[in-house]
Each structure stands twice: as C-alpha cells, then as structure tokens.
Amino acid sequence: MATDVIMPKMGATMEEGTIVTWFLNKGDYVEEGSPIAEIQTDKIAIEIEAEVSGTLLHTCYEAGETVKVHEVIAYIGEKDELIEDSNSSKKMEVIEQVKEKEQVLPPPSTAENFQKIRRTPAARVLANEHRIDLSEVSGTGPNGRIEKKDVLHFINSKKKITPLASKIAAAENLDIENIAGTGAYQKITKKDLMLPKTSEKSKPLKGMRKVIADRMSQSAFTAPHVTITSEIDMTSCINLRKELLPEIERSTGLRLSFNEILLFATAKTLSKHPNMNASIIDDYIVEHESINIGFAVSVEDGLLVPVVKDANKLGLTELTAACKELGLLAREGKLLPHHLEEGTFTISNLGMYAVDSFTPIINQPQSAILGVGRIVEKPAVINKAIEIRSMMVLSLSFDHRLIDGAPAAAFLTDLKEILENPMKLLL
C-alpha cells in the first residue's frame, strides 16, 4: 500500500510551503531517511526525508508550486504499484471530509449571520423578567434600538388594556402583568391602575419619623414586653416639691417639676436594682455601672430622648438644671448626637395628658422603661379613713428576656416606697 508524503507543518504559524526542487524523479528508488525534495516556508528552507524505503510512485505537485500543509505531495510504494486515480481522489475525499467535519463542528456563530438585536440593558433585563422574546418587540430608539418603554408597551399590548390605560402605564413605567382589569373581558381601564390619588393627604415616611418607626417596630418585635403598673400616693411628694421649689428657683432660677423628682427617685432606686439598668448586647447581659436616664421629649414630628448622664450622682438641683437644659435643646432642635447616646433607662411622661397608665415600648438597647401617668385626686383609704389623696399610676415595661416579673416588681415597689416617703431620698 503506497505511503503518503505530505507537506509538513514546520511552525505554528505555517499555513503552506513551496516545493523548491525534487531530488528524485518518478520511479526512482529512495532509501528511508534520504531527502526527497526541498521545500521553502516563509521562514526557512528544509529538506523532506522519506519515512520509508521504496519507489517514488507519483509526485502530485511540480517544483515551484505552493502547497497547503498536510497536503499529500508524493507517494512511495512498491515498484510499478498502481495508484488508481480514484484511490488518490478517494484520499482527497477523505481529506475533504475531514475539512468539512471541522467546519460542521463549530456552528458558525460569527456576528454577520446571526442578527443581534439592538436593545438597551434596561430593556434586556425587563424582557428577561417577563420571558419576552425581544425579536417580537419593535424598537422605537435610534436605528431601531429597543428601549425599556418598547418592552413595557409590548407587555401592555399583550394584555387587554384600553389605549388610555396603556399610555398611562407606559408613561408611569407601571408593569401591568399582574393587574386585574375590571373592563369587559378583564380589560384594564384607567381606574384599575390605581394611580395614587393626589387628593388624599399623603407624605413619605422619612426623616425622624422613619427612624422612630424602625426603632419602635424593631424593639417591639425583639423584646418580649411585659408591663406592670402600680398606683403611687404622690401627696408627700407634692408637699416636698412645694418646699423645695422656692429653694431651687432662688439658686438656679429654674422651677422644679415632678419630672425631675421622678428621675431623681428612679436613679436612686436603679442603683439598688442594677439588673434593671442592663442591656443584652450580642448575647451578653451587660449591667451598666453608670445610670444614665433618658426622658422622652415630644418635638415637631416625632420625639427625642435626651439622656442625663450619671443621674444617680447628681443632686436634685444639678439634676433639675440638666433636665431643663436638655429639654430646651430638644425643643429647639439643637440636640447633638452625644446628648442622645448611652442611655441605660428611659422615663416616658404622659402626665400632662388625661392618661393614667399605658404600655410604653422599650428604648433599645435598654431593657426597661417607666411610663408616668397623670396625678389625679382620688379617695383613698388611709388607716381606715377615706381621705382625698393625689394618686399617680406608674407603668413599668420590662424586657422579659433578661428581667423576670419578680425583680421588676421589686424595683417598682421600692420606687413606690421612695416616692411615698420622699425622706428616704436622703438616705
């Protein structure tokens, strides 16, 4: 069987070679390893050696001809061996098929014959979301580019919709995929688009209102709130305030209010109940040394909770001064961040309203909050006799994750004790 002599591929970039000279003629005998012909590539000139011994049966190309690499250029075989043309042509077919297969394998994906659809990224993303075949959408952008509104229009047109509603939907970028139409055969009409009625008073939830909203819901959902209440006889406190008011007013010009007395008493009681002055921080219960009590101040569209630092260490006069100053800053919107930070306990006073008791929401990360109701004169049994006394209800909400009912109740009872016998404040 004749063996092929092919044009060798001498370098990665070599595509073809030129036959310079044949060293032998048809019919000559050639020893294995001896040169048959010299070929020239774009870089070098080399000799082709015979891989087998035999007779040079046929040379397919003349000297000077350029041949593609891997092409057969000659046959070596037995002397006078016939190489039918069909044989060589068959071989040629084989080579042809090989080439064709190569072509078939990688399907032609060159840009020309696959018409890429011009569309903006926004259009592509929207089309994907709604599993729309972009080839069905007609683009109104420059040279036919499909824009987002074209896709929207396409989506809208698929769904039965009145011309007006479809225009509104496209203009307002509404996706009508899941809107139920109330017109004939579920056709979508203008009122189905539920355009926000400009007449109702609506303003966006943002700014301080949003912060409060987030914090309240976060606290309500994370901390299991329990609120216990207790009615306090404030009569002695009222007398105490009457006596102390002129003193403090003369020295500071400020008028002592119940808020300060409550804060003062709470601070004293907290120092005896550190567990109420604690927080859960990353699964650790931290009992704060300093007792910083915040008191809620309502401001224009929300509320602020300025904090009196180390309330337990302040005398009543200092405490009053601090409270008045913080209250003023809050109302004038001049509070700075540090005024609002590091609060360990909060008091929310609704005494000025006709509210007896309520369930205040804990001011995270603190773990308890004291709600203060109004002072109202009520008949009370004092050593078996009915007397008119000024009563006030305190509502203590606490975070049951770290405070149980008993300790909270103990705290509230002590606070009640101090408020009903203010002298104890001096101990």
């Binding site: 903006t120 926004a122 993303v125 824009e147």
Partner: protein, 326 residues
C-alpha cells in the same frame, strides 16, 4: 452669607492655612508684588513677607523639584504653576518624584504638596496657554487631582488638599476666577472624593467637571422647560472619584451624559464613562452612555473658533435631546 470670588476664596484659604500652620508656604512665579498672573496671591507678600511668599525665577523644573524636596522634609508648600500648560516642564518632579517617593521608600516619606494649576480656555491665550490636561495626572498612582467648580467648593477642597499628606494637583479654571459665590468666612473642609448632586432630576444625569458644571446647570434649566428633568453631578475631585454617587444617580435616571472641557479623546470623562459601564448601573441604562468633550484640536486663537472648540450650553442641550430620543 457674604459672597466672594473663586480667586478670593482661594487666597483666603491659603492665608488662613498659613496663619494656622507655620509649615505652610507658597512659591511660584510673580506671586509677590505682581500678585500672581491672575491676582490670586494679591496682598499675600505684604502679610507674610518674602520668606513664606517665595517669588521664583522662571524655572518650573527647579522650583517643582524644590517644592517636592521641601514637602518631603517637613514643609507643606503650595506651588503655583502660572499656567497649567507649563506643568510639562515640572512633570518629572510630579510624576517620578512626588507621586512615588512614599511607595518607593516603603511608606516612610510623605509629600504634603499642593500644586495649583490655572487651566482651561476661553480667554484668548491660544494654544500653549489654554489646555486642560488633568487627565494625564489622573493616570499617575500616588497623585490626587481636584477640580472645584465654584468658590465655595474651591475653599473647602483647597483646605482638604493642604491638610492632605499626599501630593494634590489643584486645577483652577481661569474663567471662574471672578465668579462670585456664597462662601463662609470660617475654615471648613470638603473631603476629597465626595461628589455633590448640584441639582436633583429624574430623566437624565449629567456628570460635569469644572466650568462645565455651570453650563450643565444652564442647560438643565432650559431642558426643564421642555419637560426633561436633569440631575447634575459635580465629582469635584477626579482622583479619588466618588463612583457611588454617580452610580446611584444613573440607576435612578437610566441615562447619563459626561461633559468636560478637555479634548474628548481619552479625556477623564472617558474614565468616568467606563466606570459607569462596568458598574451595576449597566443593567439600568436605557440609552448608551454619552460623552461631550472638546474638539480634538489645539485651542485656536480666534475667539469664534475658540468657542467652537469646547462644549457650550447649546451643545449640552442638543446632546441631552439626542439621548432622550426627542
């Protein structure tokens, strides 16, 4: 609030900084009795004397090298290059020395240097005195590049630049020097790398630098009349660039035009455009990102040609209309 010009704001900042910090001093050509080519250093020689207002010979190579050396050894110099076009003579000291010493010396040295560069065209100074080559500087790691568009921004950014321990190239625009703006008297810093949304809008974002901010705002006003709501963003500093603000805006409006005075080809706007294209904003784009820059020509002397060489308000309006497909 009082109003002062862009030039006065810069002078006031340098003077206040020098009163605060002994190490701060200014050097440059004709900055003394002449008061600087554009009058920016008027009166500073009288207040601070020749020791801290150093008038140099015309030797940009020497004086820039000297400024870098002084910065490396404890001073905080502010070098005025009379025209930003002369920076070429000082480039070796800026690019090979100032930008690289900290890195080359393993973080030991620092170069707290500010180079003030009056740039931009429009005053008829022709080709060698009207160029905008800030893009070159943004290509050099180690340099910060700032381009204030108003007196208020100029003051805040210049103070940050002076306080910054890195070399900062501070590109001022000649045509903005006597534009007035409300500027507080006390010192304040505008952090480098913080863009500002000069005007809110919903239909298209214009990212404009230096004098183009003012022109973008005028164009926006006209466009509002035909129902196109434009958001104008001023990056204020090119390096570091506040990418976040730009991306948020483009995500909102889904269209963007980058406007700058320098030659459009490989101007810094090209960088901004590709940053947008590579960001998540890509999926929100409803029109191709477009740039509007200067014609690729040396700045001609003739006033009509000069005006045609850089984007004007009209060009910005037309470009926006094209993007909006109006």
């Amino acid at each position: 609030m009082r109003t002062v010009t862009y030039a006065e704001a810069i002078r006031e900042t340098m003077s206040q900084a020098m009163r605060q910090d002994e190490d701060v001093f200014i050097l440059g050509e004709d900055i003394g009795i002449y008061g600087g080519a554009f009058g920016v250093t008027n009166g500073m020689l009288e207040e601070f004397g020749p020791e801290r207002v150093r008038i140099t010979p015309i030797s940009e190579s020497a004086i820039s090298g000297c400024a870098v050396g002084a910065a490396m050894t404890g001073m905080r110099p502010i070098l005025e290059i009379q025209f930003s076009d002369f920076v070429m003579i000082a480039l070796d000291n800026i690019v090979n020395q100032a930008a690289k010493t900290r890195y080359m010396y393993g973080g030991k040295s620092k170069v707290p240097l500010v180079v003030r560069l009056p740039g931009g065209s429009g005053a008829g100074f022709a080709a060698q005195h009207s160029q905008s080559l800030e893009a070159w500087m943004t290509h050099v790691p180690g340099l910060k590049v700032v381009q204030p568009s108003s007196a208020y921004d100029a003051k805040g950014l210049l103070l940050s630049a002076i306080k910054d321990d890195n070399p900062v190239l501070f590109y001022e625009h000649k045509l903005l020097y006597n534009v007035k703006d409300e500027v507080p008297e006390e010192l304040y810093e505008i952090p480098l790398g913080k863009a500002e949304v000069k005007k809110q809008g919903t239909d298209i974002t214009i990212v404009a630098t230096s004098i183009m901010v003012q022109r973008a705002m005028e164009a926006a006003e006209q466009l509002e009349k035909i129902g196109v709501s434009v958001e104008v963003i001023d990056p204020r500093t090119l390096v570091p660039l506040d990418i976040e603000t730009i991306i948020q805006s483009v995500k909102k409006t889904s269209r963007v035009l980058v406007v700058y005075e320098a030659v459009k080809r490989s101007g810094y706007g090209a960088e901004i455009a590709s940053v947008i294209a590579e960001s998540e904003a890509f999926d929100y784009l409803d029109a191709p990102i477009k740039r509007l820059g200067g014609v690729a020509t040396p700045i001609p002397y003739n006033p009509t040609l000069e005006k045609a060489a850089v984007p004007q308000v009209e060009d910005i309006i037309n470009e926006c209309k094209k993007i909006m497909n109006l």
